[in-house]
Amino acid sequence: MARIELSGVSHRYGNDEWAIRDVNVVWEDGVASALLGPSGSGKTTVLDIISGLLRPTEGRVLVDGRDVTGLNARERNVAQVFQFPVMYETLNVFDNLAFPLRNQRMPEAEVRQRVEATAELMGLTDLLRRNAHRLGAAEQQRVSLARGIVRKDISAVLLDEPLTVIDPQAKWHLRRQLKALHERTGITMIYVTHDQHEALTFADQVTVMNLGAVVQTGTPTELHERPRRPFIGYFIGSPGMNLLEAEVGEDGVRVGPLTVAYEPGVAKRLAGEEALQLGIRPEYVEASSRPLEGGTEAMVEDVDTTGHSLIVHARMGEAPLKVTMDEAATVASGDSLWIRFPAEHVNLYAAGERIEVNA
């Protein structure tokens, strides 16, 4: 268990473009955390730097305050699980788990004890004598994971999109096992993925990356409710956040015919900002067929159903807007819908960065 910190880490492969730039993140001891971002955002690079497979071009890696940048992967005592199961195919499950321990020249009795304990933890006891290549993908990933944690004093478990080759129904199982494992052992876990759903359900802390930089670190709720950049608003949540052009008015922020009221002090503060944008999630837009006070009308263009809710594609003046409504609502294309934006769910962005308006 350990506190992991990346300080000023930047990396480029050979003379290529910088893969990651000035990454500063702290993972507290025992946190279940996710590293989320689209392909090419640098997440795997960050992971490889933490595990020691890669030595960063610049910056430091600190474990519990100690600079470990110079240590190699073996010395850092981390476990890494890859996108596809990595097994030693000629060995059975027991020998797979024992592999790292035997490389350390641990006495065989102790090896046996640790392997059996870990197998029990991961529910692999029945499979110990089976040959590794005879297992299904999900089982193999469990074995990979078990092999990672079989060693003593693991600082962290790093998972690089571990569910990529797993069948959908098995994915859910495996995710729950990961969560359960974390609860039981309290090991710091860092889970890399491009799937926001996976990230938000697994992690207590999510770090979002894009184009080689960290965009925001926070709890799933924070990222969902108060995304620091519009990019995160789109990326997280399904459907993504609505983003509309806005202007500062006398009593608040104006989006087309709609005004979101703010205290006078706020309006003054916003007065100088350029490129103001207003973000609101479809599920927080108040909508009704009956007039709403302080709201305005929007034209419904299209209605999609997700099975448990309706996604209404509407247009307010010129601006497109998505509204999530209850499945039972009767809305059809061509209808007129009253909408209103509650101030507490609105996010304001100036030049791409979120402005805090609730003092």
Binding site: V78, Y88, H133, L135, G136, A137, V165, D167, A170
Partner: protein, 294 residues
Amino acid sequence: MKRVDQRAWLFLIPALVVLSLNAFIPLMTVVNYSVQDILPGLGAVWVGFDNFENVLRDPSFRGALTRQLGFSALILLIQVPLGILVALGMPKKGWPATAALVTIGLPLLIPWNVVGIIWRVFTRSDIGIVPFLFDRFGYVYNIANSPADAYWTVVMMDVWHWTPLIALLAYSGLNAIPDAFYQAARIDGATRWRTFWVVTLPRLRNVLTIGILLRFMDSFRIYIEISLLTGGGPGRTTAFVSDLLVNRAVGGFEFGYAAALSLIYFFIIIVISYLFFLVLTNVGTSSQMQGGDA
């Protein structure tokens, strides 16, 4: 997962047609010859299994077969590890990789008779560089008189000629191993040697299977290079089964004997190859991705 469908045979029809034409008819002809005794000018006489018995009893045959087995085993033992080592040593990217690929592949591209000839020139007592160099170190190298010299030269020639095949196959196989496996081994603290045994070698199994089978089959039929290099000598030292075959078929007009010998020989190759095939493709078959928990 693979579908079970007997209609897959349809895809195989072109291959079967082409191969049957080439394989079946000549085989039948040879079988035909093997059970007859062809007397020039007088026609053919059915002799049943006589030819086969003659072959099996013939000490020349047993001698040639023993030498052949020894030779094939020896070259496999040298070429496979050497080929793998060379593949491990070859650069993977950039122009050095291209240069290495082309250079290492060159011996494979030389017609087999030219191979024999080059090595002949190389090792002839009068004009060859090899005897010259050995002489500088105080050893009298004579391929025509010394059985050991001849035998080892033949072995070296084959190693020179064919190791690149294993090297190229292994090189390709190595490049197909995902980095993650090596990374995991590093994290698990495995030494280079251990990594080779548990990661590299198992994943090379498929390319090595075809490489070993090809080398075994071809080494068992080797003829022209040796013929040009040593003519089978001195004595019978480097005379393997093909040499015997050619002598009887072409030189001695004992076609029935030769045909029977061919068939016996063919049979031996098939049996040993099949054993190799079973062992190599069954020992820990490479993992099949099966989705979901079993």
